[in-house]
């Protein structure tokens, strides 16, 4: 298994990390990244994602296992010799240096001459449209500007790998969306391999080539954003990424990529088996709100329908959200586009809903 993984540019091979010798913060991490990939580590706080980043940067040592960069083990290489660019959560721009001095720092410690340095600093600042700010101090810049400078500083010495630790956390929503675009653009133009850590799933989905969803010290799923959203492999991922409806029951029949699930209140629904194998097994099914259908004409004739009671009808402008009671679950959400032919509902109304079997994933209980 590990042989296939070693072809990556960045490889985590059975890495474990413990701080106190009693609990593992990172349990058996295996990951292989090709060169030029933009990979996001996504997960709730305490899931081990930042620890992984710090191990890669060299600020934490792996308790067990090996981390390889370009096929060379880096466990024993100190951080300053790894040549990895890093953008910190609070930017960590040196407050006593000007912007130009901040950018010059990594070049200076590498013994680069003054004139060469100046050229590189100018190019890096122009790249993030901060060319006019070279003589300012970090405190004189706005959060967004500091962010750009931090990015330029991490890139100015032309590292092949850049790590970003929640770099957009401190920015407001609009700026954050703009910077998301700029960062991905820059990473792809320069062909840098990027490891990005965030707890914001929108950020992860919009920016990344692949997302590694962390929970409980393990990667729960490592997949491109689309797969992650459309085809979550377990309940944690389904629940963590995007909005999700869950229903619990027992597998009744299973037939290839179709199955039926008898919910706890006795009603039967269609689903696609993902990590269930035989009938009688307990399961938790996951359905995205926008895949719930209230018009039976749009479903296959043999599709199972289930009763639902409207609890709340929420007007959201471009969409409608309906909160339903389905099989004892009061938080079942149905979402649909605001269009001429779509009906509206009032609380208390009894309706029938259904879905296509492949949109409903039967996962671990």
């Amino acid at each position: 298994m590990s042989e296939t993984r070693t072809d990556g540019f960045v490889v985590f091979d059975r890495v474990q990390k413990s701080y106190d010798g009693e609990t593992l913060v990172v349990k058996d991490l295996n990951l292989s990244m090709p060169k030029g990939e933009f990979l996001t580590m996504l997960g709730p706080s305490g899931s081990g994602k930042t620890t992984c980043l710090m191990m890669l940067a060299g600020f934490e040592t792996a308790t067990h296992g090996e981390i390889l960069l370009d096929n060379k083990p880096i466990n024993n290489i100190p951080p300053h010799k790894r040549g990895i660019g890093m953008v910190f959560q609070n930017y960590a721009l040196f407050p006593h240096m000007t912007i130009a001095e901040n950018l010059g720092f990594p070049l200076e410690v590498r013994g680069m001459g003054k004139s060469e340095r100046e050229g590189k600093i100018r190019r890096a600042l122009d790249m993030v449209q901060m060319g006019d700010f070279a003589s300012r101090r970090p405190a004189q810049l706005s959060g967004g500007q500091q962010q750009r400078v931090a990015l330029a500083r991490a890139l100015v010495f032309e590292p092949e790998l850049v790590l970003m630790d929640e770099p957009l956390g401190a920015l407001d929503k609009q700026l954050r969306e703009h910077m998301q675009f700029e960062i991905t653009n820059l990473a792809h133009t320069l062909g840098i391999t990027t490891v990005y850590v965030t707890h914001d799933q929108t950020e992860a989905l919009t920016m990344s080539d692949r997302v590694a969803v962390f929970n409980d010290g393990r990667i729960q799923q490592l997949a491109p954003p689309e797969d992650l959203y459309e085809r979550p492999e377990n309940s944690f991922v389904a629940q963590f990424i995007g909005e999700n409806n869950k229903l619990e029951g027992v597998i009744e029949t299973i037939n290839g990529n179709r199955c039926t699930v008898r919910l706890d209140d006795g009603s039967v629904i269609d689903a696609q088996p993902v990590n269930v194998t035989k009938s009688g097994e307990r399961t938790r099914v996951s359905i995205r709100p926008e895949r719930v259908e209230s018009n039976p004409e749009r479903l296959a004739s043999d599709a199972h329908l289930i009763d639902a009671e409207v609890l709340e009808f929420i007007y959201m402008g471009d969409t409608f959200r309906v909160r339903l009671r389905v099989a004892g679950n009061d938080d079942f959400i149905m979402k649909y586009r605001n269009a001429q032919d779509q009906g509206r509902y009032s609380p208390g109304q009894k309706i029938q809903i259904g879905w296509q079997a492949e949109d409903c994933r039967a996962l671990d209980a």
Partner: protein, 424 residues
């Protein structure tokens, strides 16, 4: 009366009252309450701090005692030239006798004598003898007095006596300040004191350089401790902090005395060295009652004042700065020196100024472990006060010390900026 009638720069309330006035009234109660809360402390500061300082400043220039006790003599000397080679005329001696007669009656003659004795040794004897004389003579009939006075004490026949009397008769006087910087005007002109009596400038200088050295040693010893405090786990940091603060809970006197126990010739360190054989029994190290003892003891005593400001600044430096520096390719030393150290400078500034200012005014430790060669200016001030009772000189020395510290503070503010100083 629409609202557009009022000028935009004069906002007013609905009743047409200016907004500022209305706001001022609304805040007045709050202000009064705040003032009442601080009133006891304010009164205490005024009575216990500002008034003594004012009194010190006044005493340092006040010289009314001469003119008050010897009014006629002072007046008579006005027409006498200090550079004259002749003694003052008979009228002056007559005035002196008249003044002394009154003074003897009021028992103030010795107060005057003591004042003059600070400047010219032997003056008390002269006044005592003259006082005995003037009690016996009648001002109207017994003249001329000149030879009688000179006969009572030859000092009255010396030019220096009269020059000094004239020079130190005015009030306010700069006489105490001159004496504080080892100058005198007993000859009627400002000139340096003879070397064997010059001590203050040397003491000011010694106080300054030793304080500077103590400050520097404190920094060298305190910086790593503060760094450790700011960077270890909170559990250990608290324990370390208690160890740093422990000396604060011990009396200064006890701490100084314990240094005495350690450093003296029969003390712990010498005994140990002799026992090991590093030092011969008849050649024990002199570590106390000299500068060495003062520097060792004061560095230890003032160390917390260096560590605490350093620690409070270092605690605010996020670890991500050093990490960032390392990720950018700096080794441990470069990351520290180029990134961490510059950011700890406000703490160094605060600690240094605090320790230096405290050291400059230190009294007990140099008194107990300093000996004559480790004496500070404050010990001299105390000596002038309780041995000589020369309040004027005490005031002048104290004022110079105060001004020096204020000047230092001002220079520091211009160079470093007092806003950059963080004490916690």
């Amino acid at each position: 009366m629409s609202s557009s009638d009022t000028k935009p720069d004069m906002l007013s309330t609905h009743d047409g009252e200016p907004l500022k006035k209305s706001l001022g009234r609304a805040l007045r109660r709050q202000k009064i309450r705040a003032l009442l809360l601080i009133a006891p402390l304010l009164a205490f500061v005024i009575l216990g701090f500002l008034m003594p300082i004012g009194s010190m400043l006044t005493r340092s220039i006040d010289n009314e005692v001469v003119e008050e006790i010897m009014p006629q003599t002072v007046a008579a000397l006005e027409s006498w030239d200090v550079d004259s080679t002749e003694l003052p005329p008979e009228e002056t001696f007559r005035a002196l006798v008249a003044d002394l007669q009154v003074a003897a009656e009021n028992r103030t003659a010795l107060t005057f004598a003591r004042r003059m004795n600070y400047e010219l040794a032997g003056f008390t004897t002269m006044v005592r003898r003259a006082q005995r004389l003037v009690r016996r003579i009648d001002l109207e009939t017994d003249g001329p007095f000149r030879d009688m006075m000179i006969e009572s004490h030859e000092g009255w026949g010396e030019l220096e006596t009269w020059r000094a009397l004239k020079a130190y008769s005015s009030s306010p006087t700069i006489g105490y300040y001159l004496s504080a910087v080892d100058r005198t005007m007993v000859s009627g002109h400002i000139e340096p004191l003879p070397d064997d009596r010059s001590i203050h400038l040397m003491l000011f200088w010694r106080t300054a350089w030793m304080s500077g050295l103590i400050c520097f040693l404190g920094l060298v010893l305190g910086y790593p401790i503060a760094f450790l405090l700011a960077n270890v786990k909170e559990r250990y940091a608290n324990l370390l902090l208690i160890m740093v603060l422990l000396p604060f809970w011990t009396s200064l006197l006890v701490r100084t005395s314990s240094w005495k126990v350690l450093l003296q010739e029969q003390g712990v360190i010498n005994q140990t060295l002799v026992w090991i054989g590093l030092v011969a029994d008849d050649n024990r190290l002199t570590m106390i009652n000299n500068k060495f003892g003062v520097i060792v003891a004061m560095t230890q005593i003032l160390l917390p004042f260096m560590i605490l400001p350093l620690y409070s600044v270092m605690k605010t430096i996020p670890p991500s700065y050093v990490r960032a520096a390392k990720s950018l390719g700096a080794n441990d030393w470069t990351a520290f020196w180029r990134v961490y150290f510059p950011q700890s400078i406000p703490g160094i500034g605060a600690g240094a100024i605090l320790v230096f200012i405290m050291a400059v005014g230190y009294y007990i430790t140099p008194e107990l472990v300093g000996g004559p060669s480790g004496m500070f200016i404050s010990n001299r001030i105390a000596h002038q006060w309780y041995v000589s009772g020369n309040w004027g000189l005490v005031g002048a020395l104290g004022t110079i010390l105060l001004v020096a510290v204020l000047v230092l503070y001002w220079v520091y503010d211009r160079v470093v900026g007092i806003d950059n100083v963080k004490l916690g």
